[in-house]
C-alpha cells in the first residue's frame, strides 16, 4: 500500500517470455488443482473469514483505544529549514502543477525546492531549467527514482527533507502541519502525510479514492498510533536528513524503496508518524491495465521486502510492529493470493459444470447454466453469516475513513462502494496472486 507511481521506466515490469508464462501457468494450475481437491473450499472460506475477523477486531480495538484521538502536537520551539525534493522523469504533464502547489506552501520557517530530473526525454527538463524559485539537478541517464532521491538528498540543505512525487499536489499547510511531529519525540525520523486522490473522474479512480481514504486514512492512523507504519508513501513523506544520511539513503535496487526505507527505519528503532491534519492529492491510474501494473509493482516490492527483512516478522523485539502489523498487512497479501487461487479454482469448477453440457447439447447447457445460477443465488451459504460480521466492522472503518478525510457519504459514493466491496477485492487478490507467482519464479523486471 505504498504510494508510488509508475512514472519511471526502470520500475516498469515487462511481460515475461511466453515460455516462462506457460511454465508458471502449468505449475500454478497443478498446485491449485491438488490443493483444491484436497481441501474443501468451504473450510478455507471459514478459516479465512475467522482470520480476517480477528484482524478487523484488532484494528477496531486499537482504534477505540487511542487511534481515534486527534493528534496535533504543539508548535515546535523552532521551525527547521526544509528542502522539498521532487524527482521527475518525463512528468511534464503534472510536475508544473506540482511545483506550483509546492511554491504556494506556507511554512513558518524557510524551505527550498530541489527538482531532480532523472534523464527526462519529454522536454520537461528544458522547461524546468527556465523556471524560477527551484534548484534543478540533472541525471544525464535515467537511473530510477531511488537513485534520483539519493542524489537530491546529498545536495539538500534542509534539516528535514520532504520528498514529494511529481504527480502529487500538497496543500498549503503540509509542511507547517507535519513538522511539529518531528519534535514530539526525537526518535521520529519520518512523518507521512495523508494521501488522497486528486480529482477522481473514472469509476476506477473513484474506487481508488475511497480505497485511499480507508488505507491512508483509517488504517494509517491506527497503525501509526502503535508506531507500526511499514511504508512512507512516495507521494509525500518527510524525513530527518541526518537519519537518511546515517542509513545510506534509499535502496536503489528496490521496487518499492519507500517501503524498504520504512522497514529499515523500524529496524533501527526510528519512529514514523502520520499527519492527518492536512493532505496531499495525488494522481491515480485511470485504466485497469495501468492500475494492475502499479499494484503489481507495489505487491512485488512488498514480497521483495518481506524477504529482505524477514527477520522483522513475528519478532517480539519489534513489538506490535513485528508481531501484528507486518504479518497482517504485508503478510495478509499472501492469504489474499491464496484465497484468490482457491476462489478462481472454485469458479473454474463451476464454469466446467456449466459449460460441459454445452459440448453435448446447446439447450442442455443453457438450461443447466440457468438452473445452476438460480440455485447459486438462492442458496445462501451458511458460512456467509461469519462474513456479515466482517462486513459490519468494515462498514464502521469506512464511516471513520470518511470522517478522517472530511467527506460526507453521498449518493455518488454508492456505485464505487459496491465495486469496492464485490469486484475490487477480486482484482486486488488476483494482482497479489500474480505478484507472488512472479516473485516465486523470479520473473525479471526490466532494469
Amino acid at each position: 500500500m505504498d504510494g508510488k507511481k509508475t512514472e519511471h521506466r526502470r520500475s516498469t515490469i515487462h511481460i515475461p517470455e511466453r515460455r516462462e508464462l506457460a511454465i508458471i501457468g502449468m505449475a500454478v494450475l497443478a498446485l491449485s488443482v491438488f490443493v483444491f481437491l484436497s481441501i474443501s473450499y468451504q473450510l478455507i472460506f471459514v478459516a479465512y473469514t475467522l482470520l480476517s475477523l480477528f484482524i478487523f477486531c484488532s484494528y477496531l480495538i486499537l482504534w477505540l483505544e487511542g487511534a481515534k484521538e486527534e493528534i496535533s502536537p504543539p508548535a515546535p520551539p523552532r521551525w527547521p529549514h526544509a528542502t522539498v525534493i521532487v524527482p521527475s522523469f518525463n512528468t511534464g504533464d503534472t510536475i508544473f502543477d506540482c511545483l506550483a502547489a509546492c511554491k504556494k506552501m506556507k511554512y513558518p520557517g524557510t524551505f527550498d525546492i530541489l527538482v531532480v530530473d532523472d534523464g527526462s526525454t519529454d522536454g520537461s527538463y528544458e522547461k524546468l531549467a527556465k523556471m524560477e524559485g527551484i534548484t534543478l539537478l540533472r541525471n544525464e541517464k535515467n537511473r530510477g527514482k531511488a537513485s534520483a532521491l539519493n542524489y537530491a538528498i546529498r545536495h539538500a540543505k534542509g534539516e528535514i527533507v520532504a520528498c514529494i512525487d511529481s504527480d502529487t499536489y500538497p496543500r498549503e499547510d503540509v509542511l507547517g502541519k507535519a513538522m511539529p511531529h518531528f519534535f514530539d519525540d526525537e526518535r521520529v525520523a519520518s512523518v507521512v502525510v495523508f494521501v488522497c486522490v486528486n480529482k477522481p473522474r473514472s469509476l476506477l479512480q473513484r474506487v481508488q479514492e475511497i480505497e485511499y481514504w480507508i488505507s491512508f486514512g483509517f488504517f494509517f492512523k491506527t497503525i501509526a498510533s502503535i508506531d507500526g507504519l511499514y511504508v512512507t508513501p512516495g507521494p509525500t513523506a518527510l524525513y530527518r536528513k541526518s537519519v537518511l544520511d546515517s542509513m545510506g539513503g534509499f535502496d536503489e535496487q528496490n521496487l518499492t524503496e519507500d517501503m524498504e526505507i520504512a522497514l529499515r527505519m523500524q529496524k533501527h528503532g526510528h519512529k514514523i508518524r502520520a499527519c492527518h491534519e492536512t493532505m496531499v492529492l495525488t494522481e491515480v491510474p485511470c485504466e485497469l491495465r495501468k492500475l494492475f501494473r502499479q499494484r503489481l509493482r507495489w505487491y512485488r516490492g512488498g514480497v521483495m521486502n518481506i524477504l529482505k527483512h524477514v527477520d522483522l516478522f513475528f519478532n517480539p523485539k519489534y513489538g506490535d510492529f513485528g508481531l501484528f502489523i507486518l504479518p497482517t498487512t504485508l503478510g495478509s497479501g499472501f492469504f489474499a493470493a491464496l484465497f484468490m487461487a482457491w476462489t478462481l479454482m472454485s469458479l473454474g469448477r463451476n464454469f466446467v459444470d456449466w459449460s460441459l453440457p454445452f459440448t453435448y447439447n446447446f439447450s442442455a447447457g443453457l438450461s443447466a447454466t440457468v438452473a445452476g445460477m438460480g440455485n447459486g443465488l438462492v442458496t445462501f451459504q451458511s458460512a456467509w453469516i461469519l462474513g456479515m460480521f466482517t462486513l459490519a466492522i468494515w462498514a464502521y472503518f469506512l464511516i471513520k475513513s470518511f470522517e478522517i478525510s472530511g467527506e460526507k457519504p453521498q449518493r455518488r459514493h454508492i456505485v464505487p462502494l459496491i465495486f469496492m466491496l464485490w469486484v475490487y477485492p477480486l482484482f486486488i487478490g488476483f494482482t497479489f496472486l500474480v505478484a507472488y507467482i512472479y516473485e516465486l519464479f523470479g520473473v525479471k523486471y526490466k532494469w
Binding site: D353, L356, T359, A364, Q381, S382, I385, L386
Partner: protein, 221 residues
C-alpha cells in the same frame, strides 16, 4: 498480560464471541434446512408407502377394474417430479451446510423413497399392462469429482420440459446402500455416468440429449 498485548487479547475475545454468535446462527440455519429436508423426505416416503399399499390391496383383494391403474398413473408423475426437485435441494443444502451431521441419513432416506417410487412405477407397467412413462435410471458418483455426471444431470434436465413422460431416478453408484448396488449389478454397470432407459437400454458414459431421446418410447407430443 502487558499493556501492549491487551488490545489483541480483547480482539481475540471479541472474535471468539462473534464466531460463537455466528456459529449459533449457522447451526440454526443448518438445522432449519435439514428439518425442511427431513419433512419433505418423510412426505415422499409416505406417498411411496401409500402407493405400495394400493398395489398390495389390489393383489390381496383381486381388484382389476382398471380404476386403480388410472389413479396411480395420474399421480405418479407429480411424485417423481417432486422427488427429482428434492434431490437438487438436498444437493444445494448439503453444499452450504457446515455443522449438521444428518445429511447422510437424510440422503439414505431419500434414496430409499426414490427407489420405492421407481419400483412402484415399474410395477405399474407390469400390473396395468402398459406404462405411460419412460423410466430413466441415472447412476452417478459422489465420492470422487465427476464433471461428466453433473453434465449428464444437465442433459437430463434439459430434456424434461419437452419430455414430460420421462421420469428420472438418480442414485449414487458409490453409496453404501445394497439396493443401489443390486440395481447397478442387474445391468453390469462398471462406470458412471450411466443411464438405464426402461430397464432395457443401458447407456454408459456421458450421453447427449439426442441419443437419450432416441431411446425414449413415449415421444414428445
Amino acid at each position: 498480560m502487558n499493556r501492549q498485548s491487551s488490545p489483541y487479547l480483547k480482539a481475540a475475545l471479541l472474535t471468539m464471541a462473534l464466531a460463537l454468535l455466528g456459529f449459533f446462527f449457522i447451526t440454526q440455519l443448518d438445522a432449519m434446512r435439514a428439518g425442511e429436508l427431513r419433512a419433505a423426505v418423510d412426505e415422499l416416503r409416505m406417498q411411496s408407502e401409500a402407493e405400495r399399499m394400493l398395489y398390495f390391496y389390489s393383489q390381496v383383494m383381486g381388484d382389476d377394474s382398471g380404476e386403480l391403474c388410472g389413479y396411480l398413473s395420474s399421480t405418479a408423475k407429480a411424485k417423481a417430479d417432486r422427488a427429482w426437485a428434492l434431490s437438487e435441494k438436498i444437493g444445494f443444502y448439503e453444499k452450504s451446510n457446515i455443522v449438521n451431521a444428518d445429511y447422510e441419513k437424510i440422503k439414505g432416506q431419500y434414496y430409499l423413497a426414490n427407489a420405492a417410487l421407481y419400483l412402484n412405477m415399474r410395477a405399474m407397467g407390469k400390473y396395468c399392462g402398459s406404462l405411460p412413462y419412460d423410466t430413466v435410471l441415472f447412476f452417478y458418483r459422489t465420492r470422487q469429482d465427476c464433471p461428466e455426471c453433473r453434465a449428464q444431470g444437465g442433459v437430463l434436465d434439459s430434456l424434461r420440459p419437452s419430455h414430460p413422460s420421462m421420469q428420472v431416478f438418480a442414485f449414487p453408484i458409490d453409496s453404501d446402500y445394497d439396493f443401489v448396488n443390486v440395481f447397478a449389478k442387474r445391468h453390469n454397470l462398471a462406470s458412471v455416468p450411466a443411464l438405464v432407459v426402461n430397464d432395457q437400454v443401458v447407456l454408459v458414459g456421458l450421453t447427449d440429449a439426442q441419443s437419450v431421446e432416441a431411446h425414449l418410447s413415449k415421444q414428445a407430443p
